[in-house]
């Protein structure tokens, strides 16, 4: 019976102004209890001020097998980092 509980991903906002961060997962029979369980499992030491729970089955993830195609092309594009560019002296408001 216990294995019938679906898996949920938990996101915690640790402070106002920060974004929610994935902290782990848990089992719960429904959304309402998933939120309660998240409170008990992940915020019992004052870790957060806001919680999101998302059914793990709803998360669309990139395929580890396609990692090269997905991420390698960015390796040699250093010009995408702002630090690639020299700022001429004397430029204001930048």
């Amino acid at each position: 019976m216990s294995t019938a509980w679906p898996l949920w991903e938990v996101f915690v906002r640790s402070r106002r102004g920060l974004s929610h961060t994935h902290v782990g997962s848990l089992h719960a029979p429904d959304a309402e209890l998933a939120l309660r369980n998240a409170r008990d499992v992940y915020t019992r030491r004052q870790e957060g001020v806001s919680l999101w729970v998302v059914p793990s089955s709803e998360i669309v993830a990139s395929d580890p097998g396609e990692r090269d195609a997905f991420f390698d092309p960015a390796d040699d594009k250093v010009y995408r980092h702002p630090t690639f560019y020299d700022v001429p002296e004397g430029v204001e408001h930048l």
Partner: protein, 240 residues
Amino acid sequence: MTSFDYVLALADDALVSAQRMGWWISRAPELEEDLALANIGLDQLGQARSLLSYAGVVEGAGRSEDDLAYLRDDRDFRNVWLVERPQTDFGVAMARLLILSAYQGELYAALARGTDPTLAAIAAKAVKEVAYHRDHARLWTLRLGDGTDESHARMQAALEGEWPHVEELFAPVEGAVVDPSTLRAATLARIESVVHEATLSVPDVAPAIGGGRRGLHTEHLGHLLADMQHLHRSHPGATW
């Protein structure tokens, strides 16, 4: 004047319930529920500690929270029967928590507005904790009551078993800051609304004799105390 017996009654309800809640650690249906019940038990233990410390002050005999928790015998405990009986069925644990948290919610809210500043401060903190206990018990009562035929029948049976012990919560205690009988209507209304929402029915059973407030207990309390106190009594002053 706040009486020693009154503070003990509040403290012992919380302490004994915490001890019963601790039984569930590693035994709940899921790890997540293990943690939830442990959290609830620890909230109650925290309330018990503050209340026992204050009971020691009220008594004025120099007894600490540990002295009161570990070195009293069952006849000196003032908790109600509701909390001292075993709860090794999850439905029973939730039915009992539904009743206890409804009562404690009303109790702590009234104490927070009450005339005793120490109890008011302890209660103000406990109100938020108990609101969560009440929510937890409600959600499970709804799911079990309005679940399968099996869970419905077991939840109803759990309620029938706990219901005779509801009245004792409202029995008079000398030196009470909040007259327990004034909590009755609001407590019952809260419990009964959840019972109805869960498609269960409010049991029609005669109240048990009770007597916990006078130190008269079921046989179960002695066993619970043996478990809870044996380490401290075998190794006085042990710390870790």
